[in-house]
C-alpha cells in the first residue's frame, strides 16, 4: 500500500497544496455568516450605510478569493490524481510484462485487465476527491462548530450534540448499506452472467427447447436482485428525512435558546442569524463527507488490490552474469528504429548481425562438445507440475531432438503435449530434471535471449489490431517486405494477403475478427517464420486447415533452408507421420519416442491413435468387424493406460508381420499414384 504512494512523489507539491487551497476556500465560506452578523448588528442596528457597504465589499472579495483558491486546488488535484494514476497504470503494465507464465496463470487475464482499467480509474477518482474534499468537509463542519462557540457557548452546545448525532445517522446508514451494495453487485453480476449465457448459447437453448426454463431462472435472479435493491433502497431512503429532522429540530432549539440569550442581553439578533446559517452549512457538508467516505473506501480496496498485484514477483530467475548482455540486447532492439527507416543497407547488415548474435551459443557452449552442437533440444528426465495443482503434469520425459529434425508430438487431451513444448522457450521452469537447448540448460540463458531463437505458433490463432505487416513484424521488427512475403508463401498465406485490399497494409481488426480461423492460423505461422527461428514450434496450428493445405504447409516448411528444428503437435497422425521422430504422450508420461515405423511396431498408444485414423491400414486379420470389437474391448476393460498398453502388447506380436506387409504394399501403390 505504502509503495503506491511513491507514484505520488512527483506530485508531492500538488498533493499538499490542493487540500491547503481547499481549506482557504472553505475559510472564506465560514467567514460569510460573521460578516452577515456584522451587517445586521452594526449596519442595520446602527443604521450605518457605510458599514453595510464596506461589508458588502468584503463579501464580494470573499466570493472571488474563494473561487480563486478553489480553482487552484482543483487544478492541483486534477494534475496530481491523473498524473498519479497514469504513472501507476504504466508501472502496472510494465510489471505485468515482467511476469512469467506461472504468475499469469495464477492471476488470470480478467483480473489483470480489471486492475489496469476500472481499479485504477477508481483510485484516481478517490485520490482526486480526497485531495479536494477530505479535509474540506470536516473543516467546515468543525469550523462551523468552533465559530458557534466563539459566538455563544450555550448555543454552541446544541451544535456539539447535533453534529455527532448527524454523523452517526449519515455514516451509520452509509456503513450499513455498503455490504448490501456488494450483495446487489453480486446479484447484478449473476443476472448479467445469465443474460450472456442466453445469448451465447442461444442455439443450444433453442435446440433443446429450453427457452421457458431460461426465462424462469432469469425471473428468479431478476426478482432476487429487485428485492435486494429495494432493501438497500429502504435504508438509504431514511437518510434525507432523518438528517432533515435532526437539523431542523436542532435549529428550533437553537432559536429558542438564542431568543433566551438575546433577552438576557448576552447575544444580539444578528448573532442568532449567524448561528442559524452555520447550522445550515453543516448538513450539506456531512452528506458530502459520507459519500466521500464510500468513494474513498472503494478506492482503498482497489488500491490494495493493485498494490498486491505489484507485489507479485516473477518466479523466473535468470543468471546474474547476463544482466549486462540482457540490457544491451534490449536497448539494441529498441533503439535503432528511427535510423533504420533511412538506410535499408544498415538495416540488413544489422539484421545479419542480429542473426549471428542470436545464433551464437551462449557462454560456455562455444567450446562445447561436438555432440551438443548437434543436439537442438534435450529433455533430461523432466518432471513438471503447474503451480495451481500439485499433480504432476509431466513425469520423466526423456528425449533428444537433433538440429534440423522434425519432431512430432501426439497424445490425448490433457496428455501434456502443449506443456512439453512450453518448456523449450522456458515459459515454465521444470519441477525436476532439465531442458537443454543447443546443449545449454534453458535456465542459464539470459532473459529474452532464448525466445529470440524460437518461433512459436500457439494453439489459439491470435492477431493484433493493425496492418498485416504490423502483425508479421512481431516476428522480427527489421524484416523486409521480401522476407515477409517469403514467410507468407511458406505458411501458405500469400494468397490470403494478395486477396486483401492493400495487401500487407490490409487492416486486421482486433483479435483478427475479419479473418477466418484458417486464415488467422496461417498468418500466425507466417509471423513465427518471419523470425527465422532456429526452433519452430507448431502447437496444433493446422487444426483449421484442410488436409491439402496442411500438407502443402508441412512440405514448404520442410523445404526451408538451414537446420531449423521443428516441433509439430497434432491430433492428426497424418501430420506427424513423416516426422523424424515422434514423441507419444499418454497422461503426462512418455509412451514412446521414435520413428513412425518403430512406434507402429512397439508403441500401443501410437498404434491405437494411428489405426483409428487409418482404419484401412489396420492389419487385415483384425480389420473390419473384428477391429471394432477389439477396440471396444480395450476401452471397456482398459480403465488405466497401463492395462491398455498391456492388452495391445499381447496383440502386437501377432499383428506385426501382416501389418508391415500390407503397409509396404500400400506404400508402393501410393507412390505409383503420385507418379
Amino acid at each position: 500500500m505504502r509503495k503506491l504512494l511513491s507514484y505520488l512523489y512527483d506530485y508531492k507539491i500538488e498533493s499538499v497544496l490542493a487540500p491547503l487551497f481547499k481549506l482557504l476556500e472553505s475559510l472564506m465560506d465560514l467567514l460569510v455568516p460573521l460578516v452577515i452578523a456584522v451587517i445586521i448588528n452594526k449596519g442595520i442596528g446602527g443604521a450605518d450605510n457605510g458599514i453595510i457597504l464596506s461589508n458588502f465589499g468584503l463579501l464580494i472579495c470573499l466570493a472571488f478569493l474563494g473561487m480563486a483558491f478553489s480553482f487552484t486546488a482543483q487544478w492541483m488535484a486534477a494534475k496530481a490524481s491523473v498524473g498519479f494514476s497514469a504513472k501507476l497504470r504504466q508501472a502496472l503494465f510494465d510489471h505485468i510484462q515482467g511476469l512469467s507464465f506461472r504468475e499469469l496463470d495464477t492471476l488470470g487475464t480478467d483480473t489483470l485487465i480489471t486492475r489496469m482499467t476500472s481499479d485504477i480509474n477508481q483510485i484516481q477518482n478517490g485520490l482526486n476527491l480526497s485531495l479536494r474534499l477530505l479535509l474540506r468537509s470536516p473543516f467546515i463542519v468543525f469550523g462551523a462548530m468552533i465559530m458557534a462557540f466563539t459566538i455563544d457557548v450555550r448555543c454552541a452546545l446544541i451544535f456539539a450534540v447535533a453534529i455527532p448525532l448527524l454523523s452517526i445517522v449519515v455514516i451509520g446508514i452509509m456503513l450499513l448499506s455498503i455490504p448490501l451494495f456488494t450483495k446487489v453487485q453480486t446479484a447484478i453480476d449473476r443476472l448479467l452472467g445469465l443474460t450472456r449465457e442466453n445469448l451465447t448459447g442461444v442455439r443450444v437453448i433453442r435446440a433443446f427447447c429450453k427457452e421457458q426454463d431460461e426465462i424462469n431462472s432469469f425471473d428468479r435472479l431478476n426478482d432476487a436482485l429487485t428485492h435486494m435493491n429495494e432493501r438497500v433502497g429502504r435504508l438509504s431512503a431514511l437518510m434525507n428525512p432523518a438528517t432533515y429532522l435532526i437539523i431542523n429540530t436542532a435549529t428550533i432549539l437553537l432559536i429558542r435558546q438564542g431568543a433566551l440569550r438575546v433577552q438576557a442581553g448576552a447575544l444580539q439578533q444578528g448573532d442568532v442569524v449567524a448561528l442559524y446559517n452555520y447550522m445550515a452549512q453543516i448538513v450539506v457538508e456531512l452528506v458530502k463527507l459520507a459519500s466521500l467516505i464510500i468513494t474513498i473506501n472503494r478506492s482503498l480496496a482497489c488500491a490494495r488490490r493493485v498494490s498486491d498485484m505489484l507485489d507479485v514477483k516473477t518466479s523466473m530467475e535468470y543468471p546474474s552474469y547476463t544482466q549486462n548482455t540482457d540490457n544491451a540486447a534490449l536497448s539494441g532492439l529498441a533503439a535503432p528504429y528511427g535510423s533504420m527507416v533511412l538506410s535499408p543497407a544498415a538495416a540488413s547488415s544489422q539484421l545479419t548481425a542480429a542473426a549471428v548474435a542470436t545464433g551464437l551459443p551462449y557462454p560456455g557452449s562455444v567450446s562445447g562438445t561436438s555432440s551438443s552442437s548437434e543436439t537442438a533440444v534435450c529433455f533430461d528426465h523432466v518432471g513438471f507440475s503447474y503451480a495451481s495443482s500439485s499433480d504432476a503434469v509431466l513425469t520423466d520425459i526423456n528425449f533428444t531432438a537433433m538440429k534440423g529434425q522434425t519432431i512430432g508430438i501426439i497424445g490425448g487431451t490433457g496428455s501434456g503435449k502443449s506443456t512439453v513444448v512450453s518448456l523449450i522457450p522456458r515459459f515454465y521452469d521444470v519441477t525436476s530434471g532439465s531442458v537443454k537447448v543447443f546443449g545449454q540448460d534453458v535456465r542459464s540463458y539470459p532473459e529474452g535471449s532464448l525466445i529470440e531463437m524460437i518461433g512459436i505458433v500457439p494453439q489459439k490463432a491470435v492477431l493484433f489490431e493493425g496492418s498485416i505487416r504490423d502483425n508479421l513484424l512481431w516476428g522480427n521488427e527489421k524484416a523486409s517486405d521480401t522476407e515477409l512475403w517469403e514467410s507468407l508463401e511458406t505458411a501458405q498465406a500469400a494468397e490470403i494477403v494478395k486477396g486483401k485490399e492493400g495487401r500487407l497494409d490490409a487492416h486486421v481488426e482486433q483479435g483478427g475478427r475479419n479473418l477466418s480461423g484458417g486464415q488467422r492460423q496461417r498468418l500466425t505461422i507466417a509471423r513465427a517464420l518471419v523470425k527465422k527461428p532456429r526452433i519452430l514450434i507448431l502447437d496444433d496450428s493446422s487444426s483449421a486447415l484442410d488436409f491439402a493445405t496442411d500438407l502443402a504447409l508441412r512440405k514448404s516448411i520442410a523445404a526451408l533452408p538451414g537446420d531449423m528444428t521443428v516441433f509439430i503437435i497434432s491430433q492428426r497422425a497424418s501430420s506427424v507421420r513423416q516426422a523424424d521422430r515422434i514423441l507419444v504422450l499418454d497422461d503426462g508420461c512418455q509412451a514412446g519416442f521414435g520413428t513412425h515405423e518403430e512406434l507402429l511396431d512397439g508403441c500401443a498408444v501410437y498404434q491405437e491413435i494411428y489405426y483409428s485414423q487409418f482404419p484401412d491400414e489396420r492389419p487385415k486379420n483384425i480389420s473390419g468387424k473384428n477391429a471394432g470389437s477389439a477396440n471396444k474391448r480395450d476401452s471397456v476393460h482398459g480403465d488405466s493406460a497401463k492395462q491398455k498398453k498391456g492388452a495391445h502388447a499381447n496383440d502386437r506380436d501377432a499383428k506385426t508381420v501382416d501389418e508391415r506387409g500390407i503397409r509396404d504394399a500400400k506404400d508402393e501403390i501410393r507412390k505409383g499414384v503420385i507418379k
Binding site: G83, Q97, N198, C209, G233, F547, S612, R670
Partner: protein, 594 residues
Amino acid sequence: MSGSKVKKNNTGNRSSMETLKKVLRIIGHYRLLLAASLLLALLTVVLQLYVPVLFGDAIDQIVSPDSPGMSEISSTLVMILVRVLELVMISSVGTWVMNMINNRLAFRTVMDIRARAIRQIQVLPLSYLDGHSSGDLVQRIIADTDQLSDGLLLGFTQLFSGIVTIAVTLGFMLSKNVWITVMVLILTPVSFLVARFIAERSFIMFSKQTAARGRQTALINEFTGNQKLVKAFGREAKASARFKEINEELRGYSQSAVFFSSLTNPSTRAVNNVIYALVALAGAMLIIKGHLTVGGLTVLLAYSNQYMKPFNDISSVVTELQNALACAARVFELIEAEPEQKDSEAVLENHGGRVVIKDVAFSYDKSKSLIEGFNFQAEAGTKTAIVGPTGCGKTTFINLLMRFYDTDSGNILIDGQNIKDVSRASLRHNYGMVLQETWLKNGTVRENIAIGKPDATDEEIIRAAKESHSWEFIRRMPQRLDTVINDDSLSQGQKQLLCITRVMLCLPPMLILDEATSSIDTRTEVMIQEAFDKLMQGRTSFIVAHRLSTIRGADQILVMKDGRIIEQGNHETLMVKGGFYKNLYNSQFAETAL
C-alpha cells in the same frame, strides 16, 4: 450550421418524445405510484420551503432586553417553533414515503423491462442475435435498463420537484420583498451561463478522454489478454512503449477533463455568493428604510442560496435525461424488434426421419446469394456426411435444418411434413445437436447434461456419461454430478464430451453433428466415434466434418462448395467420379507418401 443543428434537434426531440411515451406505457400499472410520488414531492417541497419562512418569523420574534419584555420568551415564538416542528415531522415522513415509492417505481420498472427483454431474446430470429454482439445486447438488458430507470424515472421526479421548488421559492420570496426577488431573478441566468460555458468546454475534453480511454482499454484487452503471446515473441518492451504512448495521451486529456469539469462548482458557487452578497446589501438597506425585517432578510438569504440548487439540479437532470432516453431507445430497439415468424401449433410426427430438401435458396445478406437450388434427400435412418472447404455453407445447412433460419424459398420436409408447418419446438425435439462451438451453462454437471431431459435419473445420466466417455473425468470431479462448472473450468475436449453426453441422454430420432470431434484428440475421438456409431444406429444423421476417415461409412456424402452441392453420392461413387471429392480425399493419402 445552426439551421441543420436545429433540424437535427427537432427530429431528435420527436423520437425522444416517442421513447418517453413508450416508457410511460411501460410503467403502466405503476401509474398510481407515480402520481403519489409527484403529489408527495409537491407536498414536501412546499413544506420544506415554508420552514425557513417560519424560522424568519421566529427570528423577528426575538426581542432584545431593552424592549419592554419579560424573562419569558414570547408565546408567539413558542407557537411558531411548535408549528415548525410539526411541519418538519410531516415533511420528513413525506420524504421517506416518497423515497420508498420512487425506489419501488424504479426497481420494478427495470425488473419488468428486463423480464420483457429476456422473453424477447427467446423469440428473436437468430439473424438479429447473430447480427448484434452479445456484449452489446447484455449492455442493453443490464446497464441500459438501469440507466433508464435511474435517469428517466428519478430524473423525472427530480425535474418535477426542481420546478416546484423554483416556483414556490419565488412565491415566498415575492411575499417577502419584490425588488430583491426581481434582482435575484435577473442575476440567476449568470450562474446558468457560467455553468454551461464550463460544461461545453469540459464536454470536448471528456469526449477526447473517452476516446483515448477506449483506445487504451482496447490495447489493454489485446495485449494483456494475450500476454503469453507477447512474451513468446519477446515484445514486452515494445508493448510497454506502445502503452506509454497512449497512456500519456490519456493523461493529458484526463487532466484537462477532470480540471475543467471540477470548475463548475466553484464558479457557480462564486456567482451565488455574489448574489448572496447583493441580497444582503439590498436587504440591509431595505430594513433600515423599514421595508423588511431581519427575519425576512434571513429568509431571503436562505432562499437565494437554495434558489440556485434546483437550477443546477435541473441542468444535470436534463443531461441525465438525454442520456437515459438514448439508453431507453436502445432498450426499446431490442424489445420491439420483429420476433420470429409465428410458430405453428402442429407437432411434427416422426416416422423414421426422411428428410427432403426441395429447391432451397438462402442467404444471410440478401444482396449476395449463398445457397441456391439446393435439392437433396436423406432416407430414414441414413447417415449423411457434409464435406467441403471452410465457408462452403455447411453451418448454414444446419441453421436451415434446425430452423434457426428460415429458407428464402423452397421447402424442407421431414416425413412429408413441411418444417415450416410444424412448431419449432417439435422440430428441434427430433434433433440431437452437437455444435462446433461448445456451450455450457453456469451450473452443475447434472444440469448441463440433463438439459434435454430434466427428469432424468442419476443412473440414466451416469449411463449416458459412460457411453460418451465423459464419466471418466466427471468421476474425478470433487462433487461429481453436483460439481458446479462454467465455460472456463473444463478443457475444450471435456466440454465437447459433455455436449455429446447431453445428446446421448435424450436419444432423439435425428442427429446433427457439426465438426463435433474436431477439438478432441484422436484417442478420445475413437471412443466418441464408437458412441456415435451406436447413437446413429437407425437414426437419420447429418455430420459435418473435416475428417474424411470418419465419413467414409456415410450412406451419402454431400460435397459443398460456395454454398452449392457440387457432388453427391457415397464414397465409392464419388471416388469413381473423380471430382472435387477425390482430390480432397487423395490429399490425405498423398501426404502420407511424402
